[in-house]
């Protein structure tokens, strides 16, 4: 039985052909439908995150406590919220700028 198994393995591995791509993947990619874009979801969450950061900064004293600043005027709060919003806005810009790349022609 072991010999039969070896024979089968040898026979089938000898028949194991390797297919060259030869434009196959290109044909597949050209037939792919466009996927729905959900980039707006990222933008929405970036906006909500920024808004939340701004409101928390404005209505709570937690930021001034953390920074140990005795008083915190509106300008400082707005500046701080703007800095906090940089990250989600940066992410949003990255996603909007790096949309689907085209496949280079062979």
């Amino acid at each position: 039985m072991k010999n039969k198994d070896e024979n089968i393995k040898q026979f089938l591995s000898g028949q194991k052909l390797k297919f060259e791509d030869a434009g196959f993947s290109r044909k597949v990619i050209s037939r792919l439908p466009e996927r729905k874009s959900y980039d707006w979801v990222i933008g929405l969450f970036a906006f909500l995150g920024s808004l939340t950061a701004g409101l928390v900064g404005y209505y709570s004293k937690s930021i001034s406590v953390v920074l140990e600043i005795p008083s915190f005027n509106l300008n400082q709060i707005l500046i701080f919220s703007g800095i906090l919003a940089l990250f989600p806005l940066g992410v949003l810009c990255y996603f909007m700028c790096t949309n689907q790349r085209s496949i280079p022609r062979l």
Binding site: N7, I8, S13, K16, L17, D21, F24, S25, I29
Partner: protein
């Protein structure tokens, strides 16, 4: 490319719709999928390539449902096998075996058809499910558990098909006087 690289490319496709990433996946896996389908269709390269293209398109559309529990290649084989079964049904033939036996005489005249004639002749002696199990196990290096998922049959049935397939194929090779180092 390792499995983790596959997962990275899949994530890029899912998150960013990156077709370049999907192109890399297709290039990596196209050989095994096309070979599997070529052997299932008994050497019909046109039919098998059509099925292979459909496989990759369906995989792209359902990439979000790939959970990564099994390998990406096993998942592709599952889609390929389903496509093959559906295609066979839609051709409205009386029996699968009749169609596939006839297809040996109608394969397109290409390099692969002539090389694979003795493989197709050997596989002809097996029942369709035995044939599929043997191909997946020996040629596509899938485990019995993976084969069970690919073909959607119990593990015990896979083992039975494998055992019977090995017996028949082993006897056939002995009868034809096959020597392991003949090629």
């Amino acid at each position: 490319m390792s499995k983790s690289e596959d997962l990275g490319l899949i994530a890029r496709v899912n998150l960013f719709g990156d077709k370049n990433a999907y192109n890399k996946l297709v290039v990596k896996h196209q050989s095994s999928v096309r070979r599997f389908l070529m052997n299932l269709t008994m050497g019909d390269s046109m039919w098998s390539d059509d099925l292979a293209q459909e496989t990759f398109i369906k995989a792209y559309l359902n990439l979000g449902s790939f959970q990564g529990i099994s390998g990406f290649s096993s998942w592709l084989m599952k889609i390929a096998y389903r496509n093959f079964c559906d295609s066979l049904r839609t051709k409205r033939l009386e029996t699968n075996l009749d169609y596939l036996e006839n297809s040996i005489h109608h394969t397109s005249d290409n390099h692969f058809s002539s090389l694979n004639l003795d493989l197709n002749t050997a596989l002809k002696i097996l029942k369709p499910q035995e044939r599929t199990v043997i191909l997946l196990f020996y040629m596509e290096d899938q485990s019995q558990k993976e084969i069970s998922k690919i073909m959607n049959i119990p593990l015990g049935t896979v083992k039975t098909h494998l055992l019977k397939g090995k017996e028949k194929l082993g006897e056939y090779l002995e009868k034809t006087g096959y020597e392991p180092n003949m090629r």
